[in-house]
Every structure is written in structure tokens, then in C-alpha cells.
């Protein structure tokens, strides 16, 4: 059905457009513009910032130290996304092909953590992963039993169990980000798989392809838009994650968001923080541009 031209009903158009435009301009575009302007500024004294049009902040952001942090953030976010995809894809498949009775409950099971407070979830994970936490105790028990089995078959027992450091390192950051972002991945995957024409899968199975081959050759290509959506929905927040690396990471697992925060809360270098923020936003735009380019490829063929 055709959309109405705004001129045919100006009164209604004004009623629906003015509040939206007012809000998005005043409370989104103006703040973003301020950050953008400040990124070309320099500190003059303690509180004064002079917007002089300098590019020094961006030059400083290309220093080796910051480049490695950007690179590391990308690597961590990509790894987290990949792990979420591997863990989440079978879950989405299971939900899609579950019985009518079970499907809503499985969905609820995935959505409830999504609605639960991020900080609380991070804190809960920290409790488990601590040196005295259950994860360590579980690993310790496994170790003990492995040692016991070895003595049973007449081998030297393993050395006594030392609690491993599961928290405050890069492992903890990846683990925490996977924990937090898994529902983000499963929901769009499910949405894509649910729309799939099942007769195509049946045809593939009937024609002799195995389940694995059917999934790789039929399901994955057909669900590609959903997979890309899931990847983006996971990758983007993981790239800008602040809380998980801050609370669960060590001194060497700072991600880009932590560096930005430091410019505002500790180093008091707003222009540099603003420049870093905009570099992060540009990175997001680049990712989205790549995604929309990918989308166009099948249409060309």
C-alpha cells in the first residue's frame, strides 16, 4: 500500500514528525556534534577546551599503543562473536525445530538472561570464576579424579591441584563477553531459521545428503541474512564493551571503551577521548557498510 505524501495531510504529519525530530536533533545529534567538535580541540587549562581544529588528537590515536588496543578490541570482539555463533547456532536450530509445546519455553529461557541486568550477570560470573569459586573447585575435582585414575593404572599421580587464575585476565574477558552476548546471537538466528522453508531441508535429506552436509549447504546459505544480523548484533556491542573488560579483565585486557572512559574520568583529556569515541563510531560504520555491501552481492548474481 502506498505511503501518503506528507503534503496531503500536513496536520497529522506535523503531529507525528515534530516530537521525533525535536528529540533526535536536540538529544542525539547535538550531543554527537559536540563530541565531534571537541575531537578537534585541545586542553587549555584545567576546564577550558579550545576547539582549534587541530588534528593532534587523531594523530595521537594512531600511536602504536592505541593501535594495538584497537586491534585487540577487534580481535576479542571477533573471537567472542565466533564462539557465540558456534554455541548459538545449534541452540537456534533446536528452538526452531522444537515442538509447539516446548518452543516458547526455550525462547523464554534465552530471553530471560537477555532482560536480566548486565552488571548482575557479570558479577554472578565473577563469583563463579574466582580462585575460590565453583569453577575452580570443579576443575580441581576433575584434576583429582584424573590423578586418581592415573594411580589406578599404576602411573605417577598428578601434582597437587593449584587453583588457576580464571579471573582478571584475557580469558575472563572473552568468557564474560560470550556469556553476556550469547542471547543476542541466538534470537536473530532463530528468527532467520524460523522463516526457512522446511521442504528444502527435507528435499536435501531425501536426495541423500547427510545432516551435516544439509546444514552447511542448505540451511546456512538460506539463513545467511540472519547469521549476518546475529554477527553484527553481537560484534558491535562486544567491540564497545566497557563493563566486562573493566570488571573481569586484568591490567593488559583493556579494550577501547576502557581507554575512552579513562580520558574522561581519570586523565581528564576530553578532546582525546572524543577523538577515540569517533574513531570507534567510524569503525562501526565501516562494519555496517561491509555488511550492506555483502547483502547486495546475491542480488547482482
Amino acid at each position: 500500500m502506498a505511503e501518503q505524501d506528507w503534503k496531503t495531510n500536513k496536520r497529522v504529519f506535523a503531529a507525528v514528525s515534530l516530537p521525533t525530530l525535536f528529540w533526535i536533533i536536540l538529544f542525539f545529534l547535538v550531543p554527537m556534534a559536540i563530541v565531534w567538535l571537541y575531537s578537534f580541540g585541545e586542553n587549555k587549562g584545567l576546564t577550558e577546551i579550545d576547539i582549534s581544529g587541530t588534528l593532534d588528537n587523531y594523530k595521537r590515536a594512531t600511536e602504536w599503543l592505541y593501535l594495538t588496543i584497537f586491534g585487540k578490541s577487534f580481535a576479542v570482539a571477533a573471537l567472542v562473536t565466533l564462539i557465540c555463533l558456534i554455541i548459538g547456532f545449534p541452540v537456534a536450530m533446536a528452538i526452531t525445530f522444537a515442538s509447539e509445546k516446548w518452543r516458547p519455553w526455550l525462547l523464554l529461557g534465552i530471553m530471560l538472561p537477555f532482560w536480566t541486568n548486565l552488571l548482575i550477570r557479570t558479577y554472578a560470573l565473577m563469583m563463579l570464576l574466582g580462585t575460590q569459586g565453583f569453577a575452580n573447585k570443579g576443575l580441581g575435582a576433575l584434576w583429582e579424579s584424573a590423578s586418581w585414575i592415573k594411580t589406578l593404572v599404576g602411573l605417577q599421580p598428578l601434582p597437587t591441584w593449584e587453583p588457576v587464575q580464571l579471573l582478571f585476565n584475557n580469558f575472563a574477558v572473552v568468557f564474560g563477553l560470550v556469556y553476556v552476548h550469547l542471547p543476542f546471537m541466538v534470537l536473530p538466528l532463530y528468527a532467520a531459521l524460523d522463516r526457512l522453508d522446511r521442504s528444502l531441508i527435507e528435499a536435501s535429506l531425501d536426495l541423500g545428503a547427510g545432516h551435516f552436509r544439509t546444514i552447511m549447504r542448505i540451511v546456512v546459505p538460506l539463513a545467511a541474512p540472519g547469521i549476518v544480523a546475529g554477527v553484527m548484533i553481537t560484534l558491535i556491542p562486544a567491540l564497545g564493551a566497557y563493563l566486562t573488560p573493566d570488571l573481569m579483565g586484568g591490567t593488559d585486557s583493556q579494550m577501547i571503551a576502557n581507554v575512552i572512559e579513562r580520558q574522561f574520568k581519570k586523565a581528564n583529556d576530553w578532546p582525546f577521548g572524543a577523538a577515540l569515541s569517533f574513531l570507534l563510531i567510524y569503525a562501526m560504520f565501516a562494519l555496517i557498510a561491509i555488511q550492506s555491501m555483502r547483502k547486495k552481492v546475491p542480488e547482482v548474481r
Binding site: S17, F28, G88, P90, A94, W115, N117, Y123, G240
Partner: protein, 280 residues
């Protein structure tokens, strides 16, 4: 279990195969075990949160007796309620605008409205910090006006989600209903209130739940926008987690988790799980 299946597993019943069930079960344990342990240990009679020393509710009394924590929770709930109401109105109106009209710069405006979803939280937080500093936003107002800055920030990142869910719901609206209502003499406002709103109600419930939980959940943006005297629940818990891990945090967290679960079930009662799941 597939082991005990009475009927043979059909090819497409992936969820009935054993390894699939194990996988889903393991993922559910992974998602819920930390939360369950956190909730159990909120009843633990020990200062250090590691060994079970017996049942107590004293940390709940402590959490409820902690004025700062209660104030922070009240602040958070107030902000979430205000942000949800405003986001519903703004989000629905924006969705109607994008769905109904053709106007200059439409795709640019459409893109801009969804930008707050894409821009990283930290960048939005920085933007609001600078914006409120630049306009000299007063920080010493009386409650609830001191929550204004945080509420504004929350509305900005919540309403695009409402727009998104309402828009996908509007796509299934049959415009003939609208025309019929108009033929029968309904005014624009009556059509909106009696025809359009009932149709988008599931999306509004889902959008409200989404806004409320997003607002209640937000730490980063609030951390940058809150003045020295206004704390919200996540900001308070953050400082507690940062400096000391006590069962008090567990108790407070448990209360918030229960609140989230209760809210979810209220939304489900209102709308049914399927409708909410579909709008996601």
C-alpha cells in the same frame, strides 16, 4: 529424552536428538548457573562469599536497611518508568511517521532514528556527558527533577527500539481497516486510538518491556550522565562490586532479578509469549 522416545525421531526433529538436547541443556546451565548460585549465596551466612555456612536472611535486611542502595533502586525504577512512558509515545509516533508518510530526507531520518541503537554505549555516554556540561545542566535540583539528565539519555537510547518493534507490527496492518473507519466517519484521532493502537498493542507491550529493562540495565550511559549526588542501582552496585564483594550485593541483585522475572511474567500475561517473541 530421545533415549526414551516412544515414536522414532523424524529427520527434522533436531531438538529430539540426544546430542542436541545435551547441547541446549549445557547452554541453559551456562546461562543460568551463575545466576542461581548468586541467588543461593545471597542466603549464605558468611561474609566471604565462597563457602556455604548456613541459611540467613540478614543480608536482605542489610540491603533493605542500606539507605543509599534503596535510594539508588528507587531512582532506577523512577527513571525506568519515566523513560518507558516517554519512549512508548515517542517511539510509536516515530514509527507511525515512517510507516505512513513519504517525505523529503526520509531515509536519512530513518537511519538517524536507528543510530542510537548502533552507536556504542560508551560513545553515547561521552556525548551526554559533554552535552550536559556544555549546556550547564543544573545538578542540584530536587527529586525527581535531579533525574532529568539520566532520563533524557535513557529515552534517547530506548525509543528507537520501540520504533523498531512498532514498525514491524505496523507492516502487518491492513490499511483498509483505516479507510473503513474513516468512511464510517471517524476522525484521524479516533482512527489512531480505536483502530491503530489496538493493532500495535502487542508491539507496545514488548516495547515497554524492552525499554524498562534496557533503562534499568544501563550502567555505562548512566555512569557518564549522573551527577555527583544522583546514583542509580547499577552505578551503586558497580561501586560495591568494585570495592568489596559482599552477600549484600547478592541480596540486592536477587531482588532485582526477581523483579525482572516478575515483569516478564506480567508482560506475558498481558500479551502471551508468542506475540512478544515474534516482535523481537
Amino acid at each position: 529424552m530421545a533415549l526414551f522416545a516412544r515414536t522414532p525421531v523424524a529427520p527434522l526433529e533436531y531438538s529430539r536428538t540426544l546430542w542436541m538436547r545435551l547441547w541446549v541443556g549445557a547452554v541453559m546451565v551456562f546461562l543460568y548457573a551463575p545466576l542461581v548460585v548468586l541467588m543461593i549465596f545471597s542466603f549464605n551466612d558468611s561474609k566471604r562469599n565462597v563457602v556455604w555456612r548456613g541459611f540467613t536472611t540478614k543480608y536482605y535486611e542489610k540491603a533493605i536497611g542500606n539507605d543509599q542502595l534503596v535510594e539508588a533502586l528507587l531512582n532506577s525504577l523512577t527513571i525506568a518508568a519515566l523513560a518507558t512512558i516517554a519512549s512508548l509515545v515517542l517511539g510509536a509516533v516515530a514509527a507511525v511517521m515512517l510507516w505512513r508518510f513519504r517525505f523529503p530526507l526520509k531515509s536519512a531520518i530513518d537511519g538517524t532514528i536507528s543510530l542510537p541503537i548502533i552507536v556504542p554505549e560508551i560513545c553515547l555516554g561521552v556525548a551526554f556527558l559533554m552535552f550536559f556540561a556544555a549546556v550547564d545542566w543544573p545538578t542540584d535540583l530536587v527529586w525527581p527533577f535531579n533525574l532529568g539528565a539520566i532520563t533524557i539519555a535513557h529515552i534517547t537510547f530506548c525509543f528507537p527500539f520501540v520504533t523498531m518493534v512498532v514498525r514491524s507490527r505496523l507492516a502487518t496492518f491492513n490499511r483498509e481497516q483505516e479507510e473503513a473507519a474513516k468512511d464510517l466517519g471517524a476522525s484521524e484521532w479516533q482512527v489512531f486510538r480505536d483502530v491503530l493502537i489496538p493493532h500495535i498493542k502487542p508491539a507496545l507491550v514488548a516495547g515497554a518491556l524492552l525499554s524498562f529493562t534496557l533503562s534499568l540495565d544501563d550502567f555505562v550511559i548512566t555512569y557518564f550522565t549522573s551527577g555527583p549526588d544522583t546514583i542509580t542501582f547499577p552505578v551503586k552496585v558497580y561501586s560495591m562490586v568494585r570495592f568489596s564483594v559482599t552477600p549484600e550485593v547478592n541480596a540486592a541483585s536477587t531482588l532485582l532479578i526477581l523483579l525482572t522475572v516478575a515483569l516478564t511474567f506480567v508482560a506475558l500475561k498481558l500479551q502471551g509469549l508468542k506475540a512478544i517473541a515474534e516482535t523481537h
